[in-house]
């Protein structure tokens, strides 16, 4: 036995760390030297500095440091010294015994003692468990290889810095906050970093899709590779990490793998001690566990069903805990959390419930030129959620409105513009706010147009948005000031404002042509990008705009754009035609309407095998098999593929059929080989997606048995060549084609067909067939582009054929071998739990 003098701890023979002989105070033992444990002690000391004798166990060799600042340490912006919260002197000054590098491994509740890994056993009067969280390690082969680390403590940061010093490639698994911070730090340290995220968008718990897309673009701009929807199959390597293999077979070489997929409450100690544990250690409002002598706080606890992984709730918990320990019970009421952070230097904020839903109204502001996205969710006149990207200055204000449940009806129209605007000068009406602007105030940042210039333009006769855009360029670029310009129009003209062109749908103020023009002009690559840059007012569009945007992108970016299946109408997603009873009809392609015994046998076999109740010859000279169940579609396609048949696209806004008559080969009136030309035409055009369905026919003589003059593109063979007709259709309003021109050779007929098809693909609006398109633009325009402009025609033809390289894969073939099987198979229920 050795006295150390003063009030310092003393070792006695019974406990490794004993009670100082003269200290009869209650002994509080804290398990965990992290942010929660130390904060709880700080709060306690602030209330009563002498009531408890305090001992803290820490697993790490350090004093208490700020774990959320590990990212700046990794990034080289701070040193470890900078992020220490309480240094040795603090422990000494408050007479706290700190035991580092020695985690508590067992609790004996009956004897009221804890035992550490090294074998120390000490008694407690009150025990506080603050073990925090453990990183979640996904159970894949190779997870234990040297070079695979998590991102939780200073040791991990040191390991990452070591790896970065050796250079090379790193893979970060996890696109949440922690993963992105790790990726940012490693990038700054010179590593080439790939982030793998299993969900479709980054930080899906904090950000909605639009904000996540902005973040992803920005990070990619900094040189990181971000793979979403990336499911890790294994980490490979011989004795050390050499790379990561995804379930789709992709291999990414790496000398360092950071596993940052998430954390979970560290509850093993509490569970082993027999405490009530759910997802976390269950505590009451005073942070007391199922054992009255034991408390718990921080990320390891579950309060009222909630587990928190953020720092703010921890402060609230520590206050309630300290109140309880000093007999001033206040009680923790749960926390509404907000996240305001810089991810890799980018400002991001989210709070509350931004998932939308019944009764929720979204107010969205997108300022593409400044890379800003703001979304405030209002329900029953109260702010219930907010997501901010790029400009988070008003995050605190929105969070405050949310927490206080303040009625925002009076400031709703200005809410999205932020606190300064919404509460400034009593201007509660957007028009009044615009009216209050000075003449010099800039309205359109892109084109530098002031309010005075817009008003002058209107005074000169511009009485619509389009006219203002044409006259002074205000809102003609990014469009973010459209609302302001409309308000100036309304103020200046009163009721004389003319409504603008018909918009694409209620989600946007832009028309189809504007959207297409901007997709090309700004080289947009995805639906979320279009929605962001063009200020969509809904989070993910509607059933009108999504298929249109998908088509416009597909048309603009052949071979690059990845088709979004969920933005396709059911028929195009299922590659078959849905019928009123929910079954599908299947039409295999028969080139030019020709078939043979093998194909007919295969079709007959399918009809019998799948018990199809009807087979019908269609108007486009094909066989339509009815009554196929969605589960059977892949097998039906496999059988048809086996006989050499591919999808007939009878379901698509695409090339449907090329209808032919028998022509000069058999017919006594035939002038040219119309069937042969029909087959060639169909081989050239099949598989191409269009604004609407597109039908072609080739007739062998002017008797026109193939009805070529009510088709989108019709060829009528004559003795001296081929008449080319465009813009016809059957349907409710039958329209006979316009004659485009006459050509001499089969090759010219094919070339003009390709050029016309591409012109229609590039310039018609989605769901506009050739007939209304030509009536809108005029046949003279089409002739000028296709007939008179030889170079233009050739360029259109070349673009069509280039695009076709990527379009002519049979969509049935990949489904037949199991791609997208989830679209065809129902889920299988697994087990039943009663509660």
């Amino acid at each position: 036995m050795e006295f150390q003098g003063g009030s310092s701890p003393v070792t006695d023979s019974g406990d490794d760390i004993g009670v100082p002989m003269d200290d009869v105070r209650e002994h509080l033992v804290v398990v965990g030297n992290g942010m929660a444990g130390c904060r709880a002690v700080e709060e306690l000391l602030a209330r009563d500095p002498v009531r408890y004798r305090v001992t803290i166990f820490g697993a790490e060799p350090h004093v208490n440091y700020n774990r959320i600042m590990l990212s700046p340490v990794l990034a080289g912006e701070k040193t470890f010294q900078d992020i220490i919260i309480n240094d040795r002197a603090w422990y000494d000054d408050h007479d706290i015994t700190l035991i580092t590098s020695d985690p508590v491994s067992a609790i004996d509740r009956a004897r009221k003692t804890v035992t550490s890994r090294s074998g120390r056993t000490i008694g407690y009067d009150r025990l506080l468990i603050a073990t925090g969280s453990d990183p979640f390690i996904i159970p894949v082969p190779g997870k234990d290889l040297p070079g695979v680390i998590s991102f939780r403590d200073m040791k991990d940061v040191d390991a990452m810095l070591d790896a970065a010093n050796r250079g090379g490639d790193a893979v970060v698994i996890g696109g949440g906050l922690l993963g992105l911070e790790a990726a940012h730090g490693l990038t700054l340290r010179g590593m080439k970093v790939t982030v793998l995220h299993i969900m479709p968008t980054l930080m899906e718990r904090q950000l909605d899709e639009a904000a996540a897309w902005l973040l992803k673009s920005a990070l990619e701009g900094r040189g990181q590779t971000i793979l979403t929807g990336a499911d890790t199959a294994e980490i490979y390597g011989d004795g050390k990490v050499e790379g990561v293999r995804l379930k789709d077979g992709t291999q990414i070489p790496a000398s360092l793998v950071v596993m940052a997929v998430g954390i979970r409450p560290s509850v093993a100690l509490a569970r082993d001690a027999g405490l009530d544990v759910g997802r976390g250690i269950k505590v009451d409002d005073h942070m007391v566990t199922s054992d009255a002598a034991i408390l718990a706080v921080g990320e390891c606890v579950e309060h009222d069903g909630n587990v928190y992984g953020l720092v703010a709730p921890l402060w609230d918990m520590c206050r309630a805990l300290a109140d309880g320990l000093t007999d001033q019970h206040s009680g923790y009421k749960g926390s509404v959390t907000s996240t305001k952070l810089k991810v890799a230097g980018l400002d991001v904020f989210s709070a509350g419930d931004f998932s939308g839903g019944e009764g929720c109204e979204d107010i969205v502001l997108r300022d593409a030129s400044r890379g800003i996205y703001k979304r405030v969710v209002v329900k029953d006149d109260k702010v219930v959620g907010a997501v901010l990207y790029g400009d988070t200055a008003d995050g605190g204000w929105y969070f405050d409105l949310l927490k206080r449940g303040e009625n925002v009806a009076d400031i709703r129209d200005l809410l999205i513009f932020g606190q300064a605007f919404a509460s400034g000068g009593g201007a509660l009406d957007p028009k009044a706010a615009v009216a209050a602007l000075s003449e010099d105030a800039e309205i359109c940042g892109c084109n530098g147009v002031s309010k005075g210039q817009v008003v002058a333009c209107i005074d000169k006769g511009a009485c619509s948005l389009d006219a203002v855009r044409a006259g002074c360029k205000a809102s003609a670029s990014c469009g973010s000031c459209t609302g302001l310009v409309e308000n100036i129009l309304a103020l200046t003209l009163g009721d004389e404002v003319q409504s603008g062109p018909k918009t694409m749908c209620k989600c946007t103020s832009f028309g189809h042509d504007d959207v297409r023009r901007e997709i090309v002009a700004q080289d947009m690559r995805s639906i979320p990008e279009v929605m962001q840059k063009l200020h969509w007012s809904t989070p993910d569009g509607c059933s009108s705009c999504r298929p249109a945007l998908n088509y416009y992108l597909l048309c603009a970016l052949p071979g690059i754009y990845v088709d979004d299946q969920q933005s396709r109408f059911v028929n195009e997603r299922m590659h078959a035609n849905i019928q009123k009873d929910g079954t599908y009809s299947v039409v295999p392609r028969m080139w030019g309407g020709l078939t043979n015994p093998r194909e007919l046998r295969a079709i007959a076999d399918v009809v019998e095998k799948y018990d199809a109740p009807m087979v019908k010859v269609t108007g486009g000279q094909r066989l339509d098999i009815f009554g196929i169940r969605k589960e059977d579609l892949p097998a039906v396609w496999a059988d048809l593929n086996a006989a050499g048949m591919v999808s007939g696209h009878a379901y698509g806004k695409s090339l449907r059929t090329v209808k032919t008559c028998v022509g000069s080969e058999w017919c006594r009136f035939g002038t040219q080989d119309s069937t042969g030309l029909g087959v060639k035409t169909e081989r050239m055009t099949w598989g191409s997606w269009m604004p609407h369905k597109f039908k072609i026919a080739v007739s062998g003589c002017p008797r026109n048995c193939a009805e070529a003059t009510i088709k989108d593109f019709g060829i009528v063979c004559v003795d001296s060549g081929y008449e080319l007709h465009v813009g016809g259709n059957g349907g409710i309003h039958v329209r006979v084609t316009d004659l485009l021109c006459k050509v001499a050779t089969e090759q010219e007929a094919l070339d003009y067909c390709a050029a016309f098809t591409q012109l229609y693909r590039e310039e018609a609006r989605y769901l506009e067939r050739t007939a209304p398109w030509i009536e809108r633009v005029g046949i003279a325009y089409v002739k000028q582009r296709i007939v008179e402009d030889d170079a233009g025609r050739e360029a259109l033809r070349a673009r069509f054929l280039f695009s076709q390289q990527f379009m002519q894969d049979d969509p049935w073939a990949e489904r037949a071998v199991g791609v997208h099987s989830d679209l065809h198979q129902p889920l299988s229920p697994i087990s039943i739990a009663a509660e």
């Binding site: 019944e358 969920q566 697994i830």
Partner: protein
């Protein structure tokens, strides 16, 4: 007491998509995943002409029926806008990384 049936994980359903599930003799159920990863379950029939809602385009928290483009609110099953009608909803929850739906006798028609 509710019987909860484990029908799979979030990853089994495409974002902005749906899968169907059959549970003993009951009507087919459509399980939807929205863009923000919420899960909803409805009887797989539009109140209009019984179109299979699971095959519609999911946008926000609504689905557009593939037959006649009625928009159905996923939470309540109610037709939106001028259309009137309601599809029964089924209680659903995400827990332990799995999706659970209530045994379909519990299917209720929103008032």
């Amino acid at each position: 007491m509710t019987d909860w049936i484990d029908i799979g994980t979030l990853a089994d359903i495409p974002p902005r998509g749906a899968r169907t599930v059959h549970i003993g003799g009951e009507k087919e159920i459509a399980v939807f995943r929205t863009g923000d990863d919420q899960i909803f379950a409805l009887v797989n029939e539009c109140p209009h002409k019984k179109g299979p809602l699971s095959q519609g385009i999911v946008h926000g928290h609504s689905v557009a029926c593939p037959l006649h483009n009625w928009n159905i609110a996923l939470k309540s099953g109610e037709a939106q806008g001028e259309d009137k009608g309601c599809t029964p909803t089924i209680a659903v929850k995400q827990e332990y990384g799995r999706i659970w739906i209530a045994r379909p006798e519990m299917a209720k028609v929103a008032a």
